[in-house]
């Protein structure tokens, strides 16, 4: 569901990682066929800006730049519902 929204072009996804090397992330992206950009953030600049500390965290920002959803962990149903609401 989330991926179908991504491919619509109305939703942008960006992945951030602070733990692995860029070469590992490149192979991970290719193997997993991830169709969104991944940012390597070893110095945790964006991680700390968004208060992400170690656990998986997802943030959804609406079309005007306002945070509408933030959760630790991946809850696909909740995220899909929020995205649908914002489109």
């Amino acid at each position: 569901m989330l991926l179908s929204f991504t491919s619509s072009g109305r939703v942008a996804r960006i992945g951030f990682d602070c733990a692995y090397s860029e070469s590992y992330l490149r192979s991970f992206q290719a193997q997993s066929r991830l169709c969104f950009p991944i940012v390597s953030d070893p110095s945790r600049v964006v991680f700390s800006t968004y208060g992400a500390y170690g656990l998986s965290m997802y943030v959804i920002v609406d079309t005007r730049g306002v945070v509408k959803y933030r959760a630790n962990g991946f809850y696909e149903a909740a995220m899909s519902a929020k995205i649908k609401e914002l489109l």
Partner: protein, 159 residues
Amino acid sequence: MKNVTSLCWALALASISLCLQSCDPSGPAFPVAPTNEVGSLRISVLSPSGSEDTLGTNSYSVELDGHSYGKWTVPCVIPYVPVGAHDVVVFNHVWSSLATKVEIKTDRETSVSLSLLAIGPYAGNVAPPFSASSIDGQGLTLKALRGRVVVLAFFGSVG
């Protein structure tokens, strides 16, 4: 020795003169319309509690259509704004307004009152801006994604 000193002074003065010519101190610090079709924009801001910031102590960066119009202490009147519709945003390191459309008319002052939201990573905040490069070398900014719903996924390094 005296000649060398004189030469150094002459070169220094020439450099200063050139610098002054290229940096006109009276010139505007923001884009000016190429024609006379300009108006002015009066900006005031409302805090989240709904009260107007009239103290004139808080400085905000002003952007029109994504271009910087410098820093202003609000309420303020920005002159020489090109006629037409513009998206205006004000922000500092703590607060930001949402982009709001204003229509500037020739030789008129248009007023806009912008509501401020806190900048932060929590629901209801304006998402903190960031600038980063993907592992493919693609430049990414949150600002460039305005108009789209954005999902930011922070991969966990624990557990």
